[in-house]
């Protein structure tokens, strides 16, 4: 069966520090991968998506970047965090074997920038 791992679960970082969040998927090959951010009490905002190794599409201008060095690995990074980067970051995957397959989310990372 497919599983998605996301870490760390929580993170407190000072403003101006770098960030690296990692997500890996097991049990499937060539998944579509996504990074979403959820502000407190709000909906989910799509940040990046990837259809393959090295292929990254950014959905909103921001202080973050994403990379996909391996088929089932997706990384969210920042060189210098801002206060506004605080939030709940969710990695998700889907297969495109059928039209609009459901998203499967990881457990998320709660990031607090102080």
């Amino acid at each position: 069966s497919q599983t998605i791992h996301q870490w760390p679960a929580t993170l407190v970082q000072p403003v101006g520090s770098p960030l690296s969040l990692e997500c890996t998927v097991e049990g499937t090959s060539n998944p579509n991968l996504y990074w979403y951010r959820q502000a407190a009490g709000r909906g989910l905002q799509l940040l990046f998506y990837s259809v393959g190794i090295g292929q990254i599409s950014s959905e909103v201008p921001q202080n973050l970047s994403a990379s996909r060095p391996q088929d089932r690995q997706f990384i969210l990074s920042s060189k210098k965090l801002l206060l506004s980067d605080s939030g709940f970051y969710l990695c998700a995957w889907t297969t495109m074997s059928s039209y609009n397959s459901p998203l499967h989310f990881g457990n998320g990372t709660r990031l607090t920038v102080t």
Binding site: R42, L46, Y49, Y99, N100, P102, F105
Partner: protein
């Protein structure tokens, strides 16, 4: 741009009462998905609706897709404390089969025992 509105934002009910959340799109949809997020958890897929006027049931949950495929609803009959959480609708973003979804703002359900 493409928008999806979800109402209400919050709903407090007594256990045993019914609950409904509504989702409206500015554009005609090819399909719509519903997710549930428990407090402190991550969104979990509930169902996908594809056909105009489609109605699907999962135990006490009834999902409906509008005839014009621009709106949808989720109705919970006789709520239980296990129903607590935030319910999101999600619609395809743009054209093409990229798997990208736009999520509604969600309806947070509180159930008083």
């Amino acid at each position: 741009g493409q928008q999806v509105m979800q109402i209400p934002q919050y709903q407090h009910v007594q256990e045993g009462e019914d609950f409904t959340t509504y989702c409206n799109s500015s554009t005609t949809l090819s399909n719509i998905q519903w997710y549930k997020q428990r407090p402190g958890g991550h969104p979990v897929f509930l169902i996908q609706l594809v056909k105009s006027g489609e109605v699907k049931k999962q135990k006490r949950l009834t999902f409906q897709f509008g005839e014009a495929k621009k709106n949808s609803s989720l109705h919970i009959t006789a709520t239980q404390t296990t129903d607590v959480g935030t319910y999101f609708c999600a619609v395809p973003k743009g054209s093409g089969n990229t798997g990208k979804l736009i999520f509604g703002q969600g309806t947070t359900l509180q159930v008083k025992p």
